[in-house]
Point group: C2
Chain length 432, copies 2
């Protein structure tokens, strides 16, 4: 099995097959394999190895990766694995473990290249060459620190490389460096990377002391993670926080059952609403026939609108203050889409009546009821779907919770009220 | 206004405000600003400038960014902007424009650092220092090419930096280099970056000639883009391919109206299905009351299942061959979730009947009908939602098209059939 394949298939293999495939790799491939394994899998892998080998591989891990890995394993295994490190590394990893996993501090590595502002460029390069022998995360950005570890500036290896040998680091460095606080959320960090396209961003404490760097490769994982969380919330459930096949059956049940029950309880209001119109249904059973069509149209248009707004907010394309602009736009879109569906729906009813019959004595009025309701329901769905994520953000919740099922549930009850009200207007005195 | 703020707010500002804010920046900030603008905005920005300035800024753009920008502007502006470049750059940009935007070739930059295998390390560093004066995308990976531009290997600046000065490049370089073909899809490229965490990946043609490099910062955009496309498809519409506020009203209408109409036509089958059970509804109007509750439960559980499977497939956590495993798991989850909702639903009906009445002479049998249908509908929804993305992939379609609204529509008709069949079983001879 090739390295890539082994990394991808790791989740799906039994322990014996895993070990056989791993043993078949030569040393160089084995190292690539180990470095490519996600944090979750590298813990499993280490625990499969005999203790002596475990120590060797564990010590190959950069401290930030080791901390990520340890956060994924069971607490009892964590202590055992941590004890395999030498003292310096153990301390470093322990510091990283103290940060929340989703903070800049939890993402960062403490192995960055550093220099002093008063060195000459050739001295800085020499010092850097010495640091390059350590396991640095990157040597491509060199951070300029004073004797108290305050971050003064940064200089890229590229800049050092093309500067005059006798210039001072202070003259070459950029002194306006974008940095993040150690307690910044990973979403903030990933937005900075998106904006600037840096390879690394330094992490500082509230006094400006340099604590570490976050590198771009950690951020691709964060972007994936955030998109998955948003997608799962949008699908109407709690975020799983782990690969689908890794999550235990009952944990997954719990994460799905919560929202599903809440939505179910909300949807029960439709039974109450329908109960309110029981007499109308009894008089004109034809009305019941279009109930699923009406409410699903509201749900579908709401789902479109909330997807658009949630995603635009995730990518910073929309702010709270765009509220009115979005509302105007979605009202107009809802009207146009509603008129379209109403036209299709009314044609369908009139043609069906010609061919098969069955819609009673007033097919024109039934068509008018359905058509008018569709315009109302689609407009209401579109507006609810687009405003809800903005409202949730305003109230401090995650906009992605304005899920397709949540919006649909909200729209269903209103849809029924709109529909039966339209029925009273157009069919009152005829069927009702 | 600060640079970051100006970049973020660009979309929301009028032309005059844009220019005023830009003119207020000092030269250094202005360059950071220009480099941080997304491709779409930098075209707008250039077109705002007087021609002389336009030329200066245009020439600051690396060819891959210039090509991305040109792909976003109107065809007539494209030619005008392209003509501002000097001949060498114009040719380079024209080559990049010929690639599909979503291919490796469309993402790549032609400005990479190169060396020959037979140079000594100190010679290579000297040659590299000369190349560093050009606008290279990165000097951190140096690609080793023979005289015919075949890619032989790669060496990082870090490796060169810590190697002995008199070693040959051939001895220091890695000869097994991960590369992509120029016609590889950007999704393939982004998966490689995810697996290996490289800063750059070389792009080759089918004969192994080096064509360019794709860098990590291009990939963060790709990851975002793919997640947005998937989210929009999942929300039941065509992918917009542009920021929400940038898309013209009628284009957005078109992208939403297509799927909405298709779903509406599909949902019309519910009217036919309900028509089929018109007699039952007429006899037992109480049955109509629970129709929205039953079908929405199927839709919601289907939406959860399809989100999980689509996202797991996007992240490569699931393959087609996991089909049976997913089916078993989702059947079990559907059963457990169905029993949960059935329990809540039956309790609701029996309690309501005690307190308010209104469910007729056989509330126990009504509750049994609703409960049994809920188990059936939720199981069917879960199974459909989880299998549909796998089936779509199998047939060569995008799994993300198994959207919440699409699954809901599929499940609605079946849900009605399950419900009214259960009604005949439990209420036959009583209400029916």
């Amino acid at each position: 099995m090739q390295v890539t394949e082994l990394v991808e298939q790791w989740q799906n293999l039994g322990d014996d097959t895993r070990m056989d495939a791993f043993r078949a790799l030569d040393r160089e491939d084995a190292e690539v394999f180990f470095a490519s394994l996600p944090a979750r899998d590298s813990g499993d892998f280490l625990l499969l190895l005999p203790t002596v080998e475990r120590r060797t591989w564990m010590r190959l891990m950069p401290p930030d990766d080791a901390a990520d890995m340890l956060q994924e394993v069971d607490p009892e295994d964590r202590a055992a694995l941590l004890s395999l490190l030498d003292e310096v590394n153990r301390k470093e990893v322990a510091v990283l473990l103290a940060y929340a996993e989703d903070d800049a501090g939890g993402l960062m590595s403490t192995r960055y290249a550093r220099t002093r502002p008063d060195l000459r460029v050739d001295e800085a390069l020499l010092y850097l060459r010495r640091q390059a022998k350590e396991h640095l995360e990157t040597i491509y950005y060199v951070y300029v620190l004073d004797s108290e570890q305050h971050l003064l500036g940064a200089v890229s290896l590229r800049q050092l490389f093309s500067a005059a040998a006798d210039a001072s680091v202070r003259d070459v460095m950029q002194d306006a460096v974008v940095s993040v606080r150690e307690d910044a959320d990973q979403e903030v960090v990933s937005k900075l990377f998106r904006h600037y396209g840096f390879l690394a961003i330094p992490v500082v404490d509230f006094e400006g002391h340099m604590k570490g760097i976050v590198t771009m490769d950690d951020i691709v994982d964060v972007v994936d993670e955030e998109a998955t969380e948003d997608a799962q919330k949008f699908g109407g459930m709690e975020a799983l926080d782990a690969p689908y096949l890794d999550v235990g059956f009952w944990e997954m049940f719990r994460k799905r059952a919560g929202w599903l029950s809440v939505l179910f309880l909300g949807e029960m209001l439709t039974a109450s609403a329908m109960g309110h119109f029981e007499d109308e249904i009894a008089k004109a059973v034809v009305l019941a026939l279009f109930v699923p069509l009406i409410i699903s149209s509201g749900g579908n248009s709401g789902s479109q609108a909330s997807t658009l707004v949630i995603r635009a907010m995730a990518l910073n394309e929309l702010r709270l203050r765009d509220f009115a602009k979005v509302a105007r736009r979605e009202m107009a879109a809802g009207l146009a889409l509603g008129v379209l569906l109403a036209t299709i729906g009314m044609i369908r009813i009139l043609v069906w009546q010609q061919v098969f019959g069955g819609y009673g004595a007033f097919p024109g009025r039934v068509a008018l009821t359905v058509g008018t309701s569709l315009v109302g329901v689609v407009m209401f769905g579109t507006l609810t779907g687009s405003m809800l994520p903005l409202l949730l953000r305003k109230l401090g919740f995650d906009p992605a919770s304005a899920s397709a099922p949540f919006v649909a549930t909200l729209v269903d009850v209103t849809g029924l009220v709109i529909y039966f009200t339209a029925a009273k207007v157009f069919l009152g005195g005829h069927l009702l």
